[in-house]
């Protein structure tokens, strides 16, 4: 037994095929994204009178849902794999939105109500010049950089202290919730310099091109679809790498992993920061499509909604996050119009039902049925 000869019974050489997706997966992605591109083309190329024309509001709604799907994806990466439940991902989403919103505000130029160089809310506060933290935001590339850096750096600093102190589980969730709540209060103040409770709105253009033009909406829609696909493939690549297996090991037995020689703080920090950056990019794509960003995006309820979307779709599957966000927000946009007062009850009930009867979510159920 102790002889170290070649194994007599040799195990199959390929342990598990660690690939991005199988044939079925790639086909599904191609069909879905092909459909999205087709929708955009029908919107942009056909006349409004045509039977094939896709109306404006559909493009905006689907564009919005894709942004929600992207944050849900970001949350699934850390919650479903590393077991870190953030109830503050709305904060990173909003910060990305605000970072790009600053650029959108400067693109208004002199077309505001007060015809001033400054945004209306600054004129209202009787400010004479841009505060220092608005420096450079008239440059598209700087604001795009901020979209990545602001959520990324905040997440890295917060994560460093939280993970080093070994804060986890429900304590971590509560702290992230408090963090987004504190940020919301901060952004509600007019003196913070981000438009107070009105936030940013009334955008006119991006890169000197009108924001309400069909061409712009078409472009934003396609950019969002591309970003969502890119984020999905990036996350999928991470979780199918050895690092992904380390993340699951962190979720299941973190202290064992430390005794194997892994510095778990570094791994958590990496994936937490990637997740925050994806959420920030989603926020930046969201703002020009819906035309507004205000501190309401940082409200705890928004972040909880993201977690519910992931739970409904199925944790630790990535695709589940997209499915969950699509269903939840599709439902929301219908219910909040048809029965506005029932939405929160429905949301709560959905969460309870999924937790009780579908702990693996919709995609988890599908995977289980397929295995049988």
């Amino acid at each position: 037994m102790s002889s170290m000869a070649m194994p007599a019974v040799s195990a199959p050489r390929e342990p598990v095929a660690y690939r991005l997706y199988g044939k079925l997966g790639w086909t599904g992605l191609a069909v879905t994204w092909g459909g999205l591109v087709l929708l955009a083309l029908l919107y942009y190329l056909t006349a409004e009178s045509s039977a094939l024309h896709v109306p404006d509001y559909v493009i905006v709604l689907i564009g919005k849902i894709m942004c929600y799907a992207m944050v849900a994806l970001a949350l699934d990466l850390i919650w479903g794999y590393a077991g870190i439940l953030s109830l503050g991902h709305g904060l990173f989403f909003a910060l990305g939105g605000y970072a790009f919103g600053m650029y959108l505000m400067r693109q208004i130029g002199h077309d505001g109500v007060y015809k001033s160089e400054l945004p209306d809310f600054m004129v209202f506060l009787d400010w004479k010049e841009y505060p220092w933290f608005w420096a450079g935001t008239d440059q598209l590339w700087i604001s795009l950089l901020l979209v990545v850096l602001v959520p990324g750096v905040l997440a890295a600093i917060f994560g460093f202290f939280a993970f080093r102190s070994r804060i986890k589980g429900v304590y971590f969730s509560i702290i992230t919730q408090a963090l987004t709540y504190a940020a919301m209060l901060l952004f509600f103040r007019n003196n913070t310099g981000f438009g107070g409770n009105n936030g940013f709105t009334d955008f006119k253009r991006i890169a000197e091109v009108g924001i309400t033009l069909p061409g712009m909406k078409f472009t934003l829609f396609l950019l969002t679809a591309a970003a969502l696909l890119g984020a999905l493939l990036l996350c999928r690549w991470i979780v199918t790498s050895k690092l992904g297996r380390v993340l699951i090991a962190i979720r299941d037995a973190e202290s064992r992993l430390r005794f194997c020689g892994y510095d778990t703080v570094g791994f958590k920090l990496f994936v937490w920061t990637v997740s925050a950056v994806i959420a920030g990019i989603a926020g930046a794509l969201y703002v020009p499509q819906v035309g507004i960003i205000n501190p309401g995006e940082m409200s705890p309820a928004n972040s909880i909604e993201i977690a519910i979307a992931v739970a409904v779709g199925g944790r630790g599957t990535l695709i589940g996050a997209l499915v969950g966000a699509g269903l939840l927000h599709g439902l929301k946009s219908w219910v909040t119009v048809a029965f506005p007062e029932f939405w929160l009850f429905l949301l709560g009930m959905l969460f309870v039902l999924v937790t009780l009867f579908l702990p693996q979510g919709i995609v988890g159920l599908w995977l289980r049925l397929r295995k049988k």
Binding site: A11, P12, I238, L243, R245, S255, G261, Y262, D263, F270
Partner: protein, 280 residues
Amino acid sequence: MVTAEKEITVDPASFSPDGTVSYNRVVDGSVPDLAHGAILYMDDITVSFDGFRAINKLSLSIDVGELRCIIGPNGAGKTTMMDVITGKTRADSGSAFFGQNMDLSKMSETEIARAGIGRKFQRPTVFEDHSVFENFELALKMDKGVWTTLFAKLSGVQRDRIDEVMTTVGLEARAHDPAGLLSHGQKQWLEIGMLLAQDPKLLLLDEPVAGMTDEETERTAELFVSLAGKHSLIVVEHDMDFVAAIARKVTVLHEGAVIAEGSLQQVKENERVVEVYLGR
């Protein structure tokens, strides 16, 4: 214990079983200096929890390549001692050194594991959602930094090493099953195999045969005996038959301190040991 001048020593890794010869090199602080023949020194260690002294002025030294059994009644401080060695618990006073140069009280759990101390827990702890193969992959000795892990691909040599370890612990047929489906004894074997894959210089094994069948216990004994010499082992065990099968030198702990040390026969004849442990 502190030597004034910097010594040039032969790294014991040069006596590795694969027969490769390395050059003498200066001990650089990232590997334990084993020149004086001891791999672990614990001197006057005390650990207390809320006034209770789990470890009380414990001193212990383990030689390179030694297989040491530690026995003692429940609450004697055996597991706490392992916690101190692996950095899970900090000692209130006293010193613990890995080799002559690595002060364990100043290292994190990860650093201690990387320096070459591996641990098997009392309750088998494996990654239950991962396959047996993946458990070994995670444990396998390699650079465990974030970036290298993100881009890691198993080489043929590494894969052979995993196959070899899987065969050694008899789990090759279960390679692709989730570890959570293994029996208790098989989980024990998996964790022991993960330690082998990690290739530590010093192995700490906390009740490794608990829950194993007689046959499994026998095979474990054979394995440990074959490991001694190439590795140093500290085995904590209650199963006296198992201890008898593997023991060369036995240390008896009681109330956080060493009360006897020697061959199993000597220890068994020690009156104090009979009184507090064996005689019960």
